[in-house]
Symmetry: C2
Subunit: 327 residues, 2 copies
């Protein structure tokens, strides 16, 4: 079994490679090789016995994808994208990387299929950004994609391409609509959604965090461990069961900021909660108002995709995976 | 007022140019110029006092669109596409013309906008092929797009692009999801949907027609006159009222084949109905089973888009517009 991860230097990509390395297998087949690709050179995963190939590649180069699939990997995880804020600021770059880059990859696989019947499993990470306000709560599986960002538009377009290429038999594609990943390890960043993680991550290690919105803001979350689980499950399930609608909203935890804070209090006490500094930010509040509060994810649950069931569990997983198991 | 019609040699394009020519105005502004474009040279409309420019252009040529908008038309109608069957048979050509061609046009307008603030109204013809079975009846406005053809995929992608370019202010776009157009004038063609028109059109002039499906098959129809009406209304309504969801399922008549036939009987008698020869075709039956039976079209109706309310009316319009007003 040979696995290709495109976007392997990102947070999820790294965790996916580590998990595969630990498992040493996928779908009951020994994992013999991993090819890790990103615009910056990815780290090779620790303790992997198989062959690791590292590539530094810009997927938006039309010829790049043909090289990546020359060795015919069995499973392709496509996680590479520029983020929402950047795609909004740089329209051309967003379309070049998030849309054209993905299309080049799909085309390379299609041409390889025509050549020798190559037909890999292709797991694509999509996003809840494919929907846009006004939104029902919870959002049903058959709700239309009306993105309010260029990033969301690019993801929604790639979902459509994925379904069509899969329908034609060029690859076996599945699109995984990730919830907002929480708790994101690392430092606070400039993403409008950054606070959902930082109001938990920072107080857990005794640091202050800024909360720019009210306690009533409800959003849709899953842990990094769940995200990796979704991708691996997507790589192994029977796609006949999925049928032609290949893009699935993943399960997650729908919680208000207030509920997040109460989970923090239960885990780490009042002293942790006191480290959250309220500093309302009109712009972030306005952006959040357009976001999804939660999805039904009926199909994904029925197909065996599973996430956390509470924020206590999301916090516990962060402590296990990022803080060595203890506060 | 200068109007550009891309796809002007097609059935709807010709009727649109004729109607504009008769009206001599759009949104209360005198129509001074029409630019008509297609892959074959379009016919100039009869009795138009303004300036007519004819172009033979392949929209999938990256530079073609810049030429078309060099004179900065106020309204662009984009009707050009290769049809469903052809896009399904020739994957590359379908994407090149229906997706890349449209994207080249959108990009040319965006670059012109950056240059001099150009921001035309852009009316795009989409299709009910953006949805795919299993489908509810009627299909609500917020139902997801899960096309089961490459043509439907290409239209759904262009809808997403249209919304994003409009949201960014590069043009004022509106996407018009046309029902199946009935009664299509002309000869029976090889489209699977051809019989919906031919079982009425042919008997109305004393000719036999073949019916390949059962009486219970329900589908979604509007006349060519309504289609032109939708496009003109889309060119003139206040898009502030439409908001960011720029793609609208148009109203229409939901009718079974049996109801179509009864309308024919009321209009042209038993002798016309007797000209319908039943010749079941498994393949066409299977294709039809995946098609939309009807849409709610709540938003479009509220915005003033109007279609026929019965098949008797659809037949009457055909007699008026194609048969000189009498049988």
């Amino acid at each position: 079994m040979h696995v290709l991860i495109i976007g392997a230097a990102g947070m999820i990509g790294r965790k996916l490679a580590e998990r595969l390395s630990r498992d040493g297998a996928l779908s009951g087949h020994a994992l013999e090789a991993m090819t890790l690709v990103d615009v910056v050179t990815p780290e090779p995963p620790a303790a992997f016995d198989g062959k690791v190939t590292l590539h530094t590649v810009d997927l938006s180069e039309p010829e790049a994808s043909a090289t990546l699939i020359a060795s015919r990997p069995d499973v392709i995880f496509h996680l590479a994208a520029i983020v929402s804020g950047e795609a909004e600021l740089d329209f051309e770059r967003g379309y070049r990387i998030n849309l054209d880059g993905t299309r080049h990859l799909f085309e390379a696989v299609r041409l390889a299929h025509a050549q020798d019947g190559y037909r890999p499993r292709l797991v694509f990470t999509s996003s809840i950004a494919v929907v846009g306000a006004p939104l029902p709560f919870p959002i049903p599986d058959d709700f239309h994609t009306t993105p309010l960002t260029s990033y969301g538009t690019q993801k929604a377009i790639c979902e459509l391409l994925l379904s069509d290429y899969s329908r034609k038999g060029y690859f076996d594609g599945i699109g995984i609509r990730l919830p907002t990943i929480c708790i994101r390890p690392g430092k606070p960043n400039k993403a409008a959604s950054s606070f959902f993680s930082s109001i938990l991550r920072e107080p857990l290690v005794g640091r202050e965090a800024v909360l720019p919105v009210g306690d009533e803001v409800r959003h849709w979350h899953a842990s990094p461990r769940s995200a990796v689980g979704f991708l691996l499950h997507g790589a192994t399930i029977d796609l006949e069961e999925v049928g032609p609608r290949r893009n699935l909203s993943m399960p997650g935890v729908s919680a208000t900021v207030g509920e997040q804070i109460e989970a923090l209090r239960r885990t780490a006490g009042d002293k942790a909660v006191k480290l959250i500094r309220r500093k309302p930010d009109e712009m972030i509040m306005r952006i959040c108002a357009g976001w999804a509060a939660g999805f039904e994810a009926t199909r994904a649950r029925a197909l065996g995709f599973a996430a956390e069931t509470s924020f206590d569990e999301i916090i516990r997983i962060h402590i296990e995976d990022e803080l060595g198991g203890m506060l």
